[in-house]
């Protein structure tokens, strides 16, 4: 059996959903987009155009939930399927989006540049437990208006894995065009989604001009979205887990209503990035245990609605790749996986999503691998009847070369990569007695060195460059930074 963890019973889920619907019915949601408001009005929402408010009835919510796909797939830049967001299947993606990279050489968190991003994309290509890229940090060496699309551009050129990304403005044109270039046509992109676009409501119950336009554009192009509602318990949400869940549910349902009203059947992930608010430090800890409780619980609500899910759990608020980083990331990844969240964001991330560490990404890849083994659970493998094997054991005095051992060794036992130290002390000392950070750093360099260039068609690559250069010129940049790092 697949091990599963549950925090909510059906009665509580139903009550949370009822309360969320009551908020949407009575208070409504603010949407800074006249086109969307009119559309919702046409579909039965009670709309106040000057106030930019829409009250959503049960009927309009039910009507939106009906065509919502319960699953969808992602495909890499070459068109091969990499993700199946269905059932309890788990996939990891690096957390996003950080403003800094934690520089291993100096120990400083600094602004990243193009060369850092290319190293990141190459590294993700070699991490087998991380199925997708995310546009995990923001290269600071390009003009602000193209910083969002430029990340995607580099990702598509230097790694074949699909991309979880997002926009910083209401204009999705470049992000859309880059995907169309890779797939060759709108139909091709619809058939084989390449990205998931994160779109964030603003608490409480508001979709900004940029976010609502992003939802509209993604739906029109059938580009998958993940709704990233971010209640902050005690500050921008009720302090209780249940109260935060009600708010998260209402905000996410309002996103579903928007997407499915624009284009019924738009693929989407029931996602989020909630956090508690730490009243001592005025921070939003992603590694707090209550944050994880909210994450797991809303995933359960998404599953109750028969929707694929996403969550931000496998990350830490530590400033370095230290014990706190390991413990928070492990706990979050384990809980998220046991809950069956289809897309778990977070690996690589530190410091309240402000920093990304390549070394942490390597360590987190191992954590993800361990959770996959955990999810395989326990199953008998020629273990019954036990007698013959134990007779063999007594006869041979050990089972190291027994057929049973050799047949099941690699299925039963997950062997992590070199970052996880399992040597005895003497062997560890012989290898230089190095810390996990140093070992991870060596692994980062090895994987980047061994990274194969993308197999994406060169003509397609040239078109991507042309489109990005055009966008750069519009943003006042004559040329893009060098990419020969």
């Amino acid at each position: 059996m697949r091990p599963t963890i549950r925090f909510l019973d059906e009665q509580l889920i139903t009550r949370i959903l009822d309360e969320a619907r009551d908020l949407l019915r009575t208070l409504g949601v603010t949407i800074h987009n006249q086109e969307l408001l009119s559309l919702l009005g046409d579909h039965g929402a009670e709309v106040d155009l000057p106030a930019e408010q829409a009250k959503l009835s049960d009927e309009i919510i039910d009507k939106a939930l009906k065509p919502s796909p319960s699953s969808f797939q992602l495909f890499d830049t070459l068109g091969n399927q990499t993700h199946d967001f269905s059932g309890d299947k788990v996939h990891y993606t690096p957390g996003s989006a950080a403003v800094n990279i934690l520089d291993h050489a100096t120990g400083e968190a600094r602004r990243p540049a193009t060369a850092d991003y290319i190293r990141y994309a190459k590294l993700v290509g070699g991490l087998k437990n991380i199925a997708a890229q995310s546009t995990a940090f923001i290269p600071a060496d390009v003009a602000e208006p193209i910083q969002d699309s430029y990340r995607l551009f580099l990702s598509l050129l230097f790694c074949e894995k699909p991309v979880v990304t997002g926009a910083f403005t209401k204009n999705l044109d470049v992000i859309r065009d880059l995907q169309l270039i890779v797939r060759g046509s709108a139909e091709g992109l619809k058939k084989k989604p390449l990205t998931v676009i994160s779109v964030c409501p603003t608490s409480p119950l508001k979709w900004t001009e940029a976010a609502s336009q992003n939802l509209l554009d993604c739906a029109r192009n059938s580009v998958p979205v993940e709704y990233i509602s971010m209640p902050l318990s005690g500050f921008m949400a009720p302090v209780t887990v249940v109260g935060s869940l009600i708010q998260h549910t209402a905000e996410t349902l309002s996103g579903i209503v928007i997407s499915q009203t624009v284009n019924p059947g738009t693929p989407m992930l029931y996602g989020g990035a909630p956090a508690i608010f730490d009243m001592r430090y005025e921070t939003t800890p992603m590694g707090a245990v209550e944050t994880m409780l909210i994450d797991c619980a809303y995933v359960e609500i998404g599953k109750f609605l028969n929707l694929p899910t996403q969550t931000y759990t496998a990350m830490s608020d530590a400033k370095l790749l230290d014990a706190q980083a390991g413990l928070e990331t492990s706990m979050g990844a384990t809980l998220g996986a046991l809950t069956g969240a289809n897309s778990i964001s977070g690996p690589g991330i530190l410091d309240f999503i402000n920093s990304l560490s390549l070394e942490k990404l390597v360590v987190d890849n191992e954590i993800c691998g361990m959770t996959f083994r955990l999810l395989e659970g326990i199953q008998p493998r020629d273990d019954f009847p036990a007698l013959p094997l134990f007779q063999e054991f007594l006869r041979d005095k050990h089972l190291i070369i027994a057929d049973h051992t050799r047949k099941y060794l690699r299925d039963e036992i997950h062997f992590p990569g070199p970052t996880i130290d399992r040597a005895n002390r003497a062997r560890w000392q012989e290898k230089g007695a190095i810390s996990i950070g140093e070992q991870a750093s060596r692994e980062v360099e090895r994987l980047i060195l061994e990274a194969e260039p993308t197999r994406l068609d060169e003509g397609v690559q040239a078109q991507l460059v042309e489109r990005m250069e055009g966008a750069a010129r519009s943003a006042g940049m004559d040329t893009l930074p060098q990419r020969d790092a």
Partner: protein, 216 residues
Amino acid sequence: MEPKMEILKDIATSLLAGNDKKIVEEVAQAIEMKVPTTEILDDGLIAGMNVVGKKFRNEEMYLPEVLLSARAMAAGVALLKPLLIAEEVPSRGKVVLGSVQGDLHDIGKNLVGIMLEGAGFSVVDLGIDVPPEKFIEAAIEEDASVIGVSSLLTTTMSKMKGVVDLVEERGLSGQVKVLVGGAPLTEEFAQSIGANSYAYDAANAVEKVRELVGEG
């Protein structure tokens, strides 16, 4: 490739695959082809085992595969043994092995024995709870060049010094070296009791024995 080279290469390949049945056939074939016995041993079996050792160190092979190769090695060596004796080929070195007095654990020691045999050494296993005198007597009787002493307990590791001291006392320090190992041991401890060498695991024990017999 000339037939001689080919059969030696086949032996090394079968060894890597841990295929003892095939090894026996191929070694027999090589003997029939009049390939010199030492070449079958050195360029076929031991050459293959060296690759196995390297792959184990690089984590490309795991213990079960290594032990299968070791078993295949032993099967091949068994065929060669009468010839090696008849041709008076000097032994690569014999190791007397045992768990120290008071210690009833033998898993680690057994593993060391299997790995040493796999590497082409002769092993005389004295079992568990072996008093110092027995180690020394066996070493003299078997003309062994290495005594391997194992201990799993912090309470028995102190007894290891007895073996080292007795080798010294009998004036055997020149010809018999003492290698110690076991979970609670450290290099520092080994030095403190005057042991010639310390191995931190079974694969390491093979390397250390090689050093002690001058192959390192």
